[in-house]
Amino acid sequence: MRSIINYLKEIIFGVWSLLKGMKVTGSYFFRPGTIITQKYPSNRKDLVMFERFKGEVVMPHNEKNEHKCTGCGICELNCPNGTIEIISKTIVTEDGKKKRAIDKHIYRLSMCTFCALCVKTCPSNALAFSQKFEHAVFNRALLIKQLNKPGSQLMKGVE
């Protein structure tokens, strides 16, 4: 008798769990609002990626064309495959002292693994990730970028 009761209980619980599963998929079917596919490229104009999206490494410049990069080379040391190359120069400050400054911050988009180690380890928070994801080009030379803009200099108070 016990075994018959167990048998029937098994069947009823089994059917109940199956119906619960069907309720979930049924609710997905009857509510097209739950679709998470983006119809790219027809929604390019209003497509916004999520906040922490890693598109491309950039060096933010303010309105006076100043950045925060001191040319220390910590990002080059931390990059796992040598994507970043720092070329620095010596400048003479107003006090007459010789100081190191960034000449060219070379970033090779073709080799970048988007690991964010350069962004995390920069002591002056000079680097950041942008939201741009359309990187395809026809000429490979366009993938070697210089992150500090021409004519820019170090922001005051960073170092």
Binding site: I11, L18, G21, M22, V24, T25, G26, Y28, F29, P32, T34, I35, I36, T37, K39
Partner: protein, 379 residues
């Protein structure tokens, strides 16, 4: 005037206005039949009629197959929170035709040391089995290719012929994984046929006849799923489960799934032969769905409630063909819902389900139904 001259000079015409044909196809078929009889001898009339029905069924097969493949992909996508085909044609409706073109262009790879006669024969057997089953289904009033007096038995017997195709495909592929897949599929189909047969017998007990047109007519004052309340509902659920297992579909598709045994018994098939297996599976699904709709949900009979005259007349306004298509597609939607909700069953779980759960419940259900019919406790 001589009777022969009169007969030759008057051609038969439709006995009802043309728009009434939608509600009852019998005048149309009689008109075609008598026109053909007037034009040629009885032998050629029969041949022409058979050819006509064959071409119509082929067309129906192809169109339904196309539509079902597209519907499956869309239903599956919506249940998985995504869009499905939406680039080829508006809303992706030409996707199946594009797939068909691709399959037609593929190379038919001949297998080394494989039995080539059986290898080529297997897809045809599966297709022929489903063709034969379509012939017995009542699509609308008067649109019934063969009205056998053992309709239910014929459909079950003929759809069982598909097992031969599956086993031949697995054996002649000369591939041990295909053979294992075919053996598993064969065991599964043969086991679940028992449940399908018993579930249909439950309804035959209630209807009193195996003839499909009689079963549909008996549902004029209410569908069997409502008239035979508890046992008919249990039989419907058991029929749904067993028929998805019989057609190797849904959570029971171990023998042919892409990730199991590298696609099982149709691994070695490419191009048009694979398209045959693929199409035969969808048409089998359509056939079992239409049997479920005919036997449990009333076939082409509109939704009547007892003898409520006014309500019944409103329901009669919708043509029977639309009722039939609606019911069949409802059952097909249920089967697709099963497939995309539940994970796949292992072969031992499959066979346990049949022999330890479905068969005893089925037998008890047949007893209950017989008791209810004898006591007259149905509606």
């Amino acid at each position: 005037m001589l009777p022969e001259i009169v007969a030759l000079n008057t051609s038969p015409s439709l006995s009802v206005p043309w728009w009434k044909v939608v509600y009852d196809f019998a005048p149309l078929t009689e008109w075609i039949d008598s026109s053909l009889h007037n034009a040629m001898s009885p032998f050629w009339t029969t041949v022409t009629e058979m050819l006509l029905i064959g071409v119509l069924i082929l067309l129906f097969y192809a169109l339904v197959g196309l539509f079902l493949v597209y519907a499956e992909r869309k239903v599956c996508a919506f249940m998985q929170n995504r869009l499905g085909p939406n680039r080829v044609g508006p809303f992706g409706i030409f996707q199946t035709i594009a797939d068909l073109f691709k399959l037609l262009f593929k190379e038919l790879i001949p297998i080394k040391d494989a039995d080539s006669f059986l290898f080529n024969l297997a897809p045809f057997i599966v297709i022929i089995a489903s063709f034969m089953a379509i012939a017995a289904i009542p699509f609308a009033k008067g649109l019934h290719a063969i009205d056998l007096n053992i309709g239910v038995l014929y459909v079950i017997a003929v759809s069982a012929m598909g097992v031969i195709g599956v086993l031949l495909a697995g054996w002649s592929s000369n591939n041990k994984y295909s053979l294992i897949g075919a053996m598993r599929s064969g065991a599964q189909i043969v086991s679940y046929e028992l449940s399908v047969g018993l579930a249909l017998i439950t309804i035959v007990i209630m209807a009193g006849s195996m003839q499909l047109s009689v079963i549909v007519e008996a549902q004029r004052d209410g569908w069997f799923i409502f008239k035979g309340h508890i046992p008919a509902f249990i039989a419907f659920v058991i029929f749904l489960i067993s028929s998805t297992a019989e057609t190797n579909r849904g959570p029971f598709d171990l023998a042919e799934a892409e990730s199991e045994l590298t696609a099982g018994y149709h691994t070695e098939y490419s191009g048009i032969k694979f398209a045959f297996f693929f199409l035969a599976e969808y048409i089998n699904m359509f056939i079992v769905a239409s049997i479920a709709a005919t036997v449990f949900l009333g076939g082409w009979m509109p939704f009547h409630v007892g003898h409520w005259g006014g309500f019944n007349q409103v329901m009669d306004f919708i043509p029977p063909f639309i009722w039939y298509i609606g019911k069949t597609f409802f059952v097909i939607f249920l089967m697709m819902w099963f497939k995309w909700t539940f994970p796949r069953l292992r072969i031992d779980q499959l066979l346990t389900l049949e022999w330890k759960y479905l068969l005893p419940i089925n037998l008890v259900n047949v007893l209950i139904m017989a008791f209810i019919v004898l006591m007259g406790w149905h509606f």
